[in-house]
């Protein structure tokens, strides 16, 4: 479900169709069923790591055009009402100059819908998985956009534990969205 390439995983890390990570999420009644599907375009390797660093930390915007081509190919045939980029905190956005997820949408010719914003600003990576899961609220929905019956696609740069995407998905579902899928550059 997280699009972890299954053939690379040993039996012992799998529960039937789901990997352990996803099972853990889906067994938790607070979280099951919010994010229906994730697709990651690339597997994180040394080469991608370098390209991602140039894109994210050096801020070479041109790479968004390259990633957008892959994005278009992967999402071909998807029917979606809204594309929602995972937002950066205000400081992070200022530091980077642009939102990397949003840039890919724009370059792929999709209209990004900025309905989410961050509630807290503390660095996520400093927290343990448990802390992140039980964090009361990472995002809030800003606009009055009607989400009822809508199919929403979330976009983020890297899928690590899936907690960011699940927090966003939960919020969108509670606001009336019908389906929430996600797509990330790498995992």
């Amino acid at each position: 479900m997280c699009s972890r390439p299954f053939r690379l995983l040993d039996e012992q890390f799998r529960d039937g169709e789901l990997c352990h990570d996803c099972t853990r999420w889906e067994e938790d009644p607070d979280w099951q069923g919010f994010l229906q599907k994730n697709t990651s375009i690339f597997l994180y390797n040394d080469f991608l790591k370098e390209v991602m660093a140039k894109y994210k930390f050096r801020g070479d915007y041109v790479l968004a055009k390259v990633f957008a081509d892959y994005f278009k190919e992967v999402t071909k045939g998807w029917e979606a009402d809204l594309f929602v980029p995972i937002p950066l905190s205000e400081e992070r956005l200022y530091e980077r100059g642009f939102n990397q997820a949003e840039a890919i949408l724009t370059e792929a010719g999709k209209m990004p819908t900025d309905i989410l914003s961050r509630v807290h600003t503390e660095k996520q990576s400093k927290k343990s998985r448990l802390e992140r899961i039980h964090l009361p609220q990472v995002f809030q929905i800003d606009s009055q956009t009607n989400l009822h019956g809508k199919k929403v696609i979330l976009i983020d740069d890297i899928y690590t534990t899936g907690s960011t995407l699940r927090h966003a998905a939960k919020l969108l579902k509670q606001a009336g969205a019908d389906t929430v899928w996600s797509i990330t550059l790498a995992r």
């Binding site: 050096r58 801020g59 070479d60 915007y61 642009f98």
Partner: protein, 496 residues
């Protein structure tokens, strides 16, 4: 970041406002007069003197930087400026429109051009100020004795050394054209010493990190009580203010009018296209009135022409420190060696050459133009001696293999041009297989030939270029070596 203009001053604005501008749009940047009573930060002085940094490079808050600007101690310069309608990067000098890109920028709220050429040093766009220092330079206290080196220069070195001293004093440009093994580093010592004694700031810059790492301990040893900043990607000295700086040419991009003398070592190590940006970096880093010394064993054709035409001031050191002539490469036709290798064979004369070395126990370097063909040759040669190794630039065991060669555990090392310079082994012969390949330029071949006969105990070495058709580059390389030997004899620098 944006700026408002108020009371003849720039006032930074974090976000878009109607009455603010991006620095690139401001026609003339106002610089407040220096307030001598302002208690300026010594730390900012150390970090910024002679530099051009981005706000993100400086660990101090914007408020503090702004108050230094308002009191005349800090300057804001445009990161991108326009020459007519075309953007130019003021840090790296990029004017190539293809190396600019545009994005919607959250720092200025507009579409913002940025330079892709120097993006590895942090992004410079139309709303990016380059931050510099306008206050007094940090104080330097000099030790009683500046230089600890007391070696002796060869006659050829002495002539060049005197010229370097003179060029530094008279703020001139000077090229030192020293053959491989002449000992060019020592030629700088007297010039550096007198410059330091006069409180001048000196920089030695080179395209390669390897060279920075090799030069740093040598200079620290020669000038033990002088602070030396050693700068390369990831170095910890990046905020260190020092009278003597050793840096990669990339790192020069962070300097602005800093040095009284810039010494550019191995200017030829990168192709001509890179030279332009390198020149830009060097020009930015030196003070408007300063000296520029170029060091090389193999100036490019344009420079050689300028030297011959009297348009470039230069000194040659045509002879090695040990006063023996440079080994002259011999040419040997070896037919279509690539085709033979594809069939699992080496040309007979190449094989003979290698066998002779293995039998007599003389170590050798054998250069190949490309990795795949070298790797085809390796198993063939290992049948003769299983200790034979091959290295190339991306080889993770590169250092270990070179070390094994030094320790004489490897009788023969196959290599790409990666070992053409820098590395020296005391007693080796050298062969090039496929010397006609485009990668073997005049300067590459001179450098390769220069690997042989380096040690005074083993001043001779055989250098053979195996080829499938002689090239101009091969002929020019041989001519350059022969000319240097002749000059060395004429000037009495070679014993015959």
């Amino acid at each position: 970041m944006r700026f408002q203009i108020k009371d003849e001053k720039l006032i930074p604005q974090r976000f878009f406002t109607e009455d603010s501008y991006r620095i690139t749009q401001i026609p003339e940047i106002l610089q407040p007069p220096l307030n001598p009573d302002f208690p300026y930060s010594r730390e900012l002085q150390q970090i910024l003197a002679g530099k051009q940094l981005l706000l993100d490079d400086i660990p101090h808050p914007l408020d503090e930087i702004q108050s230094h600007y308002e009191n005349g101690y800090i300057t804001y310069r445009k990161g991108i400026d326009y020459i007519g309608k075309k953007p130019m990067c003021m840090r790296c000098g990029n004017k190539d429109q293809q190396l600019f890109a545009i994005f919607h920028c959250s720092r200025c709220g507009e579409n913002c051009f940025y330079c892709r050429r120097c993006i590895m040093m942090g992004r410079i766009s139309e709303c990016t100020p380059l931050i510099g220092w306008n206050g007094p330079a940090p104080n330097i206290t000099l030790p009683q004795k500046i230089m600890a080196w007391n070696g002796k220069l060869s006659e050829g070195q002495q002539v060049a050394s005197d010229k370097v001293v003179e060029a530094i004093w008279q703020k001139k440009e000077w090229l030192v054209w020293a053959v491989c093994g002449a000992g060019k580093t020592e030629v700088l010592f007297a010039g550096i010493e007198t410059a330091l004694a006069a409180y001048k700031r000196i920089c030695i810059a080179t395209p390669r990190t390897d060279v920075v790492l090799e030069l740093t301990p040598r200079l620290k040893e020669a000038f033990p009580e002088i602070r030396v900043a050693s700068l390369y990607g990831g170095s910890t000295d990046r905020h260190l203010y020092a009278p003597l700086t050793i840096a990669t040419t990339h790192q020069l991009l962070r300097f602005y009018q800093a040095f009284d003398a810039v010494i550019l070592d191995e200017v030829d190590a990168f192709p001509y296209t890179v030279e332009e940006s390198l020149q830009h970096a060097a020009i930015q880093a030196r003070k408007p009135s300063s000296a520029m010394i170029y060091l090389t064993a193999t100036p490019n054709e344009k420079w050689q022409r300028e030297c011959r035409a009297g348009k470039r001031s230069f000194t040659t050191i045509p002879a090695r420190f040990h006063r023996h002539p440079l080994p002259i490469p011999e040419f040997a036709w070896c037919g279509n060696w690539q085709k033979q290798l594809q069939k699992g064979r080496l040309p007979a004369n190449v094989l003979r050459w290698i066998k002779d070395r293995l039998e007599s126990g003389k170590q050798a370097l054998v250069f190949f133009p490309h990795i795949p063909l070298m790797e085809k040759a390796l198993p063939l040669l290992r049948k003769l001696d299983s200790r034979i190794e091959a290295v190339h630039a991306e080889d993770p065991e590169r250092k270990e293999k070179v070390q094994k060669m030094r320790a004489k555990e490897v009788p023969l090392l196959l290599t790409t041009t990666i070992l053409e310079r820098g590395v020296t082994f005391p007693n080796i012969d050298v062969a090039v297989v496929g010397a006609e390949d485009l990668i073997f330029t005049e300067s590459a071949l001179v450098q390769i030939a220069g690997r042989a006969g380096r040690n005074k105990d083993y001043p001779d070495g055989v250098v053979t270029f195996f080829h499938f058709g002689k090239t101009d580059e091969m002929l020019k390389a041989r001519k350059q070596i022969v000319t240097m030997n002749r000059e060395g004899v004429k000037r009495g620098l070679i014993d015959i």
